[in-house]
């Protein structure tokens, strides 16, 4: 494993609010710089017979873009978010029921998939669903001269040579999800993973702080 100093990892300002919607069973909004995503979770609720799974809950993820209808890109992101959540959630505790996670993009200024993952994790936690671990999303961009930028803005993403998004779990800091664009060497990949693992510590720390803030009223 590569050593990465904490100072080399810079993330934009991030913020989060839980339980901001009244209808869903769990909701959260996550803001990273100018990128902002709102998430709502419904469930465990009744499931359609065609989607029923006898030994675990059915998880559905919907990503709504800021403008227009969801397309092929959103479908592929939905798959990534869904399978990441499935890895973290203990779905076998609620067989024959359905969980629905809706992610509404409020503004996209880079690192969108990472922000979606963070919003999803906070919303699932808010809904009180049982999870084996937490997860967070980190995006890294490699610039033309080989520098690694964590949590890039849309402009930085456009100029970059390669862009990677990882989902990192909270217990062992391993990679749950990986989605990449552009070509890069094996060494660059390992470096990006190490940087993301470092960045994930900050995000998990923030998760804990925001949950603590939320429960401060009934301590």
């Amino acid at each position: 494993m590569m050593e990465v100093s904490a100072s080399s990892v810079s993330l934009r300002e991030f913020g989060c609010e839980q339980t901001l919607l009244s209808r869903p069973d769990g909701s959260a909004s996550f803001v990273q710089g100018d990128t902002s995503v709102m998430a709502g979770v419904y469930g465990p609720a009744e499931v359609k017979v065609s989607k029923e799974i006898y030994d675990r809950a059915t998880l559905e993820v919907l990503i709504q873009p800021k403008v227009g209808l969801p397309g092929v890109r959103e479908r592929s992101q939905e798959q990534c978010v869904r399978e990441t959540c499935e890895a973290a959630l203990l779905l076998s505790l609620h067989p024959r029921s359905s969980l629905t996670l809706i992610l509404q993009v409020l503004h996209d200024d880079g690192s969108l998939l990472g922000c979606c993952l963070n919003a999803a994790c906070m919303a699932l936690m808010d809904a009180g669903l049982s999870m084996s671990c937490l997860f967070c999303g980190v995006s890294c961009a490699i610039t033309a001269d080989g520098r690694i930028i964590t949590d890039p803005t849309a402009a930085q993403e456009k100029e970059s040579r390669a862009l990677m998004t990882f989902a990192i779990d909270s217990t062992e800091r391993r990679v749950i999800m990986s989605s990449t664009k552009g070509s890069f060497s094996v060494h660059e990949l390992q470096q990006c993973i190490a940087v993301s693992q470092k960045a994930s510590e900050k995000i998990f720390h923030f998760y804990r702080d925001s949950v603590r803030r939320r429960y401060s009223k009934n301590l």
Binding site: S97, M125, G128, S130, Y215
Partner: protein, 244 residues
């Protein structure tokens, strides 16, 4: 494990936090080693020889060795022995289907009422509210409710009378209302006399001497979730002065 759990009581934990057996837990030579016993409630899960937190919330402890995570949740998941407020949605054969706000409708046999026999059916209509207790509730089976206790008595359960107002609050608030010596209940008592039925599924039913007072109580309770104790007492005082 016991001592490490005890240390964290009252703190906020998130899923993935672990408790393991400490190897250095001193073994005394004189006393025979007592096996440690820990009873895990909601939000704690055993995985191999470790204890893993699976929900975010505050760790609570009840002596001698019960631990659980108190979390704010909205969706109800049936548990055996819990009393809930349900809405009758259908009559099918000899069971009623009851909506309790969980993922599946619960069934309630017409014989599970006080004094009910094959000939003497209870008067329950679709749309009625019932206060009932789970006798079967697990993830693999349809949950089943009854309106009698072990000795066949109603014991407060059954169909609701006319009037009153049903509303939903968070599951955390419900548990705070039902706790012995609940301070919210004490504050409410000082306000007006009212009839209060609290189901563990987050449904609360209130009836008071006038519609206005019923609505005030409902609104107060719904706003309790997001207030600290001091804020709540201030609000209750304001209402008392305004209403009296």
């Amino acid at each position: 494990m016991f001592s490490s759990l005890k240390e964290k009581v009252g703190q906020v934990l998130v899923p993935g936090d672990e408790f393991g057996f400490e190897a250095e837990d001193s073994i005394s030579l004189t006393e025979s080693a007592k096996p440690e016993r820990v009873v895990c409630g909601p939000g704690l899960r055993r995985s191999g020889d470790r204890l893993v937190v699976s929900k975010s919330g505050v760790l609570r402890h009840k002596p001698p060795h019960c631990f659980w995570i108190e979390s704010q949740q909205r969706r109800y998941i049936p548990a055996k022995g819990e009393t809930v407020i349900g809405i009758v949605t259908a009559k099918s054969g000899d069971v009623f289907k009851v909506d309790v706000g969980s993922s599946e409708q619960a069934s309630l046999s017409y014989l599970a009422f006080e004094g009910a026999t094959k000939r003497n059916r209870p008067n329950v209509q679709v749309g009625d509210l019932v206060f009932a207790q789970f006798i079967i509730a697990n993830k693999d089976m349809e949950p089943e409710l009854v309106c009698i206790d072990g000795s066949g008595r109603a014991n407060g359960m059954g169909v609701f009378g006319a009037g009153g107002l049903l509303f939903k609050v968070s599951l955390g608030l419900v548990r705070r209302l039902l706790a012995p010596h609940s301070d919210i209940r004490a504050d409410l008592d000082r306000l007006f006399p009212c009839e209060l039925v609290v189901g563990l599924n987050g449904r609360v039913w209130v009836r008071s001497s006038s519609t206005q007072q019923t609505l005030i109580v409902a609104n107060l309770l719904q706003s309790c979730d997001t207030m600290t104790a001091a804020q709540r007492q201030q609000l209750f005082r304001k209402v008392q002065q305004g209403a009296l």
